[in-house]
């Protein structure tokens, strides 16, 4: 079973305690934006086999949204961090690089 540590309340939360919220760090494109950007924001997804960043909610705990870095090919969890950020923290990126040299996800590496 997938276990993620909630970065707010510090609980090691089981999957049954959490709600998955899809891909992280999506940049919102609203009305009036370019059709390619709008389509990309609404529908296109990274769907990588490997390092992935996701939104999760500690639904049956503190109720807060947070972000997690996982490997979709092995289910290994690299870490979690608060949702109030536009990119993964440097320490986490370095921790991922130590385990998955040369990883790349959108513009992050």
């Amino acid at each position: 079973m997938l276990t993620l540590e909630c970065p707010y309340c510090g609980v090691q939360a089981d999957e049954t305690e959490l709600s998955p919220g899809g891909e992280a760090h999506l940049k919102r494109f609203g009305p009036g934006s370019d059709i390619d950007d709008f389509e990309g924001y609404l529908f296109m997804r990274e769907n990588p086999k490997g390092v992935h960043f996701e939104r999760w909610r500690h639904a049956y705990g503190c109720g807060k949204w947070f972000l997690a870095a996982r490997d979709t090919a092995t289910l290994e969890v690299f870490g979690t961090y608060p949702a109030q950020t536009t990119e993964p923290p440097q320490a986490l990126r370095e921790a991922i690089s130590a385990k998955r040299p040369g990883w790349r996800w959108r513009d992050f590496a």
């Binding site: 049954t16 609404l42 529908f43 769907n47 086999k49 289910l75």
Partner: protein
Amino acid sequence: MKHYSVFAVAREALRQHTGWDRAWAKAEPKKKYDVIIVGAGGHGLATAYYLGKNHGIRNVAILEKGWLGGGNTGRNTTIIRSNYLQDPSAAIYEKSRSLYETLSQDLNYNIMFSPRGVMMLAQTQHEIRGYQRTAHANGLQGVETAFIGPDKVKELCPIINISGPRYPVLGALWQPRGGTARHDAVAWGYARACSAMGMDIIQQCEVTGIRRDAGKVVGVDTTKGPIDCDKLALVTAGHIGVMANMAGFRLPVESLALQALVSEPIKPVMDVVVMANTVHGYMSQSDKGEMVIGGGTDGFNNYTQRGSFHHIEETVRALVETFPMISRLKMLRQWGGIVDMTGDRSPILSKTPVEGIFVNCGWGTGGFKAIPGSGWAMAELMAKGASPLTEEFSMWRFREGKFIDESVAAGVAH
């Protein structure tokens, strides 16, 4: 290819079964093919078969990373139905169901199609209205379905508890011509027929790159060396995102794990397929006597062909309420497959931004039933450049807002 028949069985019985050939030939890649299909599952093999049979294109290779039919083709719950709400879906799924009816004869391979009937239970007032609407839509589409009451449900499937405390059975959408088939045999039958037409089925050959020149595909790199081609079909289900990445375009698809399980074999207790979408579970009995059970997908991206245990628990809990007699059954095996989910839960059969590359993906949780129709339509699209069956399933329908929204219509058990 030797013809399979009762006489062949009798002849071989008299000589200790020494005369059977391999069903399909082992092949090594040639330098160039007219068409390369990536993925030797049901959809890929069916595409190859109809390219050869309907369009005379036989210089075809089917590349498979693992073994033939070892992905979702061998991991589903083998349900065949076509009771969809939207017209484009009904057209392709009904084409598929009708092809299944004569597939054993067409392929000279017994796929054990069993049109035992599929029942989708209505367990809330909303579902009653939804399924009545679907039954009317199916009537206009030429798909034979009917909305039946709880008494008829009980008559067709006596082991159902129709007066369940939380979700009583209020009726069902009944498709008498739906049913099941032997999933491996579908892949094996198509493979045998493709091989007989001279196509190369190359297993344990992983595609590692897609070579392009001026926006047009020229070939693929594989673990068995580079192979050239004029046209390329990507039919890799859960791994379609990986292929699209190699080809340099994006798809509106996410890969999730979907699980199924079977019980120990018991004597025949149900001769229909029952789907209970409100409580997230569906069940049928295989010819061996195992109860074949499926449920919902996980909520997060996953490529491991393993799912989360709590989904199994939820599925079984729901089915025990609907079928109290299964509460003492032991479960034998559980497995997962990686399904490719699109935003509107409908497939993508389409050209792509790269000339010569075609995709057939997004079948999500309901691909097995569509294998013959998908292959038929995809072959037409690749041979002629257009097909009436694939017109609405373009990968650009999302940006145009032309969804084929079956996520509401089909619920969980798609």
